[in-house]
Symmetry: C2
Subunit: 421 residues, 2 copies
């Protein structure tokens, strides 16, 4: 059997470790030249496949591919572009198969979240329907940690570590000066529908009275009087109050507290700025001096403080995706299986794409304290292993050395241009 | 001569390395028990001296004092409390001398910025006026880097490193996804009157076309049409635009943009936060998808990514302050003197308190690019050494181990309570 090519794309919001998955995948492919000739990466994700804008990863040096392991964001570009259903836009799937055929691609690796795994699954179905031999393998990725089945999603452990470290540091700052200055500090973190990232702020606590004193989850409807009473109680007893708020915080009517009115390509509301809204309530209701921070992209790009566990899992899943493909599997994705909490023991398992496609794993209620403002010991037991270990990038001139790939295009073979709908 | 005691206080906004100065100071004192018996720290800064709320640092273990070197914020508490002039509130200065007398304090160490060094200087004058032998020694500190004479202010190098690293990381993120998602990213950084921290964002560049593409300095009045034209040009040529904005950005009328009655992109009146104001202008004027981040306290507390150079300078100045005192000096502060840029060679020098009191060092115009949107090579040459080297704190359970001191109070000796004015 002659070697065939593989396609690889990065999808959706990027993370500090998605390139570590790319590194695991490409390095593994390079050890099996008799089976897989070249990995073609989609420039800007799946759009690259649709428009036949492919990157020849064989043109990158071994050193640069190795450096992907410590480089944040998406080295080949990513996009927010959700393919419609097979019934709604069959032409897109046909186009993908056409591009695969033209470039002798027999493996389709898609590195993304629940939406992307749904896409992978549909591509697998389409390929089967038209009789084109294509192994579709997913690789999980999402800072939101909202995929089911897998113990964790690569990207989450690092953002969790960033948030826990930042909360601990900012809390030391606020505590130092609360006597005469800021009494209430609010950190806004990501998490559109699931509060996993906000929950990770709770790891900053050593003792139950430590900051953060209040976590506001998207899973718990915001109760303004209850919240303000809690802030006052904390300031009265501790002298200051540190709050972590999820961007996805909603009121009892189910509306986001901060809503920009615009929507992204997946139809998700485009958020930003719930921290100043909470600050306004504290100011109006209690009059305390406040400060607020919005970490935004800083949190998910923060490779400098990545979790070693997260990096290792991201790499392992990239490698495992290739191993799945070489074992003749299709429509599956490698996942993390937890064998024990402490010490944390994990191994790579496998799930079917259809099991994770479009399923959003929210925080179970038993992970959130009864009053809704903190995390439970069960939650801590789950989260703590995911932030273990440091994995510092190399530095030069005081700054981390992140690789920029050459990203050499693969000559096009199809004559028809493809217009994105 | 029997050993006498020393007073030490931390003043104003805290930093990632002010405790490293405390560490240098206390460790040096502990090596000279024949000259200085005990360091009494002011609880919450100078307020602790005024209210006779002193902390007995001799009750802290050597291990805990050593851990101050890697612990952010102010271990003894800090405050924003500026003593009035000698003519306006002589009673405050008399009270300070009274507390020093009561506790046999012969050395007064004040770790702070320009305001604090003004206070130190006045205390020195007052002590001389009443004939009380008190050596007043300053220790520079400020993330704003706005003290004159010293090559850099401890605290600045670390916030500069945080900002440069964060800009580089967020820029990788934005670049990855700009094709279909966020085109403009705005990071707001500290610096109410001086743009040193914003300038440090410019260190993220390797090549002139690298992000950040635009830096908005407090020293350069904001020109909205010019700014929007520049953003459009950058997006047209680079595909995306990364902006660093100083919280102290002002319009041509000299008003802070964050307070100029503007509303953010969501129509909320602003509660501090120039980043959402800039985002709103980009949205209204150009229609690009944007994201913004406000680092706030995260930047000045970020000990996890401290500059090794900064930590070493902070420690050295704490040690040097004691050496100045033991050499019989008064009304001086140790400073950093640069001997060469590359390799960066520095040594500890000395300045008189009156030279640094209340003088604000803004960025020289020749450090800002002619168009006002970037930094020059001269600025880079000055800034680059200050972020060199990493000095990671120890970690446990995935989080940095920062010390919490016991902070045992010194029994009061004065009968009169003191009410702060």
């Amino acid at each position: 059997m002659p070697a065939i090519n593989a396609f690889y794309a990065q999808s959706g919001g990027v993370t500090a470790v998605i390139n570590a998955s790319a590194c695991g995948l490409i390095q593994t492919v390079r050890r099996h030249p008799e089976r897989i000739a070249t990995v073609y990466a989609g420039r800007n994700g799946i759009i690259g496949a649709l428009t036949e804008d492919l990157i020849d990863t064989s043109r990158e040096s071994d050193e640069d591919i190795a450096a992907l392991r410590h480089t944040p964001a998406a080295a080949f570009g990513s996009c927010r572009y959700k393919l419609k259903g097979l019934d709604k836009n069959r032409a897109e799937y046909e186009r993908l198969i056409e591009v695969c055929k033209a470039h002798d691609i027999g493996y389709f690796f898609y590195n993304g979240g629940g939406d992307s795994q749904d896409t992978s699954n549909k591509i697998a179905q389409m390929a089967a329907a038209v009789g084109y031999p294509l192994a579709c393998i997913g690789i999980p990725k999402t800072v939101d940690n909202d995929l089911p089945i897998t113990d964790a999603c690569p990207g989450f452990g690092s953002v969790a570590k960033y948030v826990a470290v930042s909360v601990r540091e900012a809390a030391f700052d606020v505590a130092s000066m609360a006597k005469t200055s800021t009494k209430v500090f609010i950190l806004e973190v990501m998490g559109r529908h699931a509060g996993w990232i906000a929950a990770a702020g709770g790891l900053a606590q050593e003792r139950s009275t430590d900051p953060p004193h209040i976590i506001l989850f998207p899973e718990i409807p915001f109760d303004e009087p209850g919240f303000l009473a809690r802030v006052k109680h904390v300031v009265d007893t501790e002298g200051y109050c540190v709050i972590v708020v999820s961007e996805g915080l909603k009121n009892a009517a189910g509306q986001f507290l901060s809503e920009a009115g615009t929507r992204d390509a997946f139809g998700h509301a485009q958020l930003g700025g719930v921290a100043p809204v909470i600050a306004g309530l504290v100011k109006t209701g209690l009059g305390y001096k406040y400060h607020w921070a919005v970490a935004d992209y800083l949190q998910r790009a923060a490779r400098h403080i990545a979790s070693k566990t997260d990096v290792e899992q991201a790499y392992a899943l990239g490698r495992a995706a290739v191993e799945c493909a070489l074992a003749g599997k299709n429509a599956v994705l490698p996942i993390i299986v937890r064998k024990s909490d402490d010490p944390y023991v994990w191994e790579v398992g496998e799930a079917r794409l259809e099991e994770v496609a479009n399923v959003e794993k929210k925080i179970p209620r038993e992970y959130i304290a009864e009053d809704g403002y903190g995390i439970t010991d069960d939650c801590r037991r789950y989260l703590r292993p995911l932030i273990q270990g440091e994995d510092y990038p190399p530095y030069e001139n005081g700054l981390p050395c992140y690789v920029r790939l050459r990203n050499v295009p693969v000559p096009k073979k199809l004559t028809a241009d493809y217009k994105l709908p």
